[in-house]
Amino acid sequence: MKTAAYRVHRLIQDLARDGEKAGQFAADMEPFFEAYELAEQEKQLLRSGSREDMIELGIHPNLQMKYMRVSKPPRPAGPSPLQPYLKKLGLE
């Protein structure tokens, strides 16, 4: 399976660690694409951000999930995935 160039993964890892940068990226990706010296095809596929395009680009699976989160404007946190189980598990 194809693996994306490290510059793509470095961008996603850096965004995943820095919420402020992630917010800036979601608002305007282009300066980040320039700063990380991405190739044109990489930029196109990241602008799309679809699952198929991320696989085509060869983004690491765990980083695909992180990219889906950081490439969109921040949203209020939804319910915890553990919410339906808290009572049964004695965690309420």
Binding site: T3, Q13, H60, Q64, P81, L82
Partner: protein, 272 residues
């Protein structure tokens, strides 16, 4: 000399029960069984074995095997688990690193690591009040060159030797491995579950025959169980720490709706 008084392994996610209510209920029951059995064993510490999900170790620094040696750890805060600080066990972690090195297994020692959902969902259920010291033991299953099932089984043996020969008399340790079972994550095949392979893993472990699983290469496991299914190597560490010990399946549910074969086992040595 100390003693490993129990070994457990479980999947480490809980998704929406909508549409799979009965299966989800059985999975949750399985988690509760693990919690209750560990409570009965009253361990002095839990060695918590899992992969990191590129939250601590990334492609920038690809860590194969690592042990947490801090006096306390703070969780990453993902997967619905609140950020919490809980006791570590520096001496046990360091003894493991030291003895593993003697055995030719060089563990990265980490002071600053924030266990993510892979460790924390089971830990939160098992010990929500943060009373039991935890030694996080990381087995890479997500970055490009992971350790093999055989390597992980050997690490489990080194863990057993550490506890048996390097730790204080009467110290009681539980090994809790998390991850898997079969799942394909963000790759073609996502949603598939290989129940046959999952059941083989469970059967070999609970019949004391986990060494037979060491014949699988990393590539074979990925082909059979998915890139996410490679997390079964954490189970191999647990099994290596309780060689020949028989146990039981606590739950198994093939759940394409959760894109995962969900399973849990318990091994308790005779005399415990």
């Amino acid at each position: 000399m100390g003693k490993i008084v129990g070994g457990f392994a479980t999947s480490h996610i809980l998704f929406s029960p909508t549409g799979v209510e009965e299966q989800a209920d059985r999975v949750a029951d399985g988690f509760l069984q693990i919690r209750d059995r560990i409570a009965e064993l009253k361990p002095d510490a839990i060695v918590l074995v899992s992969a990191d999900h590129l939250n601590n170790f990334t492609l920038a620094v690809q860590v194969t095997l690592a042990v947490g040696i801090a006096d306390e750890h703070t969780s990453f805060g993902d997967g619905g688990v609140p950020v919490m600080t809980f006791p570590g066990h520096r001496a046990l972690g360091e003894d493991l690193a030291r003895h593993a090195a003697v055995r030719g297994l060089d563990l990265i020692q980490v002071e600053e690591v924030r266990p993510d959902h892979g460790m924390m969902i089971p830990k939160y259920i098992v010990d929500p009040d943060n009373k039991i010291p935890i030694v996080p033991l990381y087995v890479n299953a997500a970055m490009p060159i992971p350790p093999s099932p055989a390597r992980c089984f050997a690490l489990g043996r080194a863990l057993k030797e550490t506890v048996d020969h390097q730790r204080p008399d009467d110290e009681q340790i539980v090994v809790l491995a998390t991850g898997g079972l079969s799942h394909w994550l963000c790759v073609p095949g996502e949603g598939d579950v290989n129940a046959e392979f999952d059941r083989e893993v469970i059967d070999k472990i609970i019949t004391g025959n986990a060494h037979q699983l060491t014949r699988y290469s990393t590539d074979q496991v990925v082909e059979l169980a998915g890139n996410g299914g490679l997390e079964m190597t954490a189970w191999m560490v647990m099994a290596g720490a309780l060689p020949n010990v028989k146990g039981e399946q606590l739950y198994y549910e093939a759940m394409p709706q959760w894109i995962t074969g969900m399973g849990g086992v318990a091994l308790v040595p005779e005399g415990v």
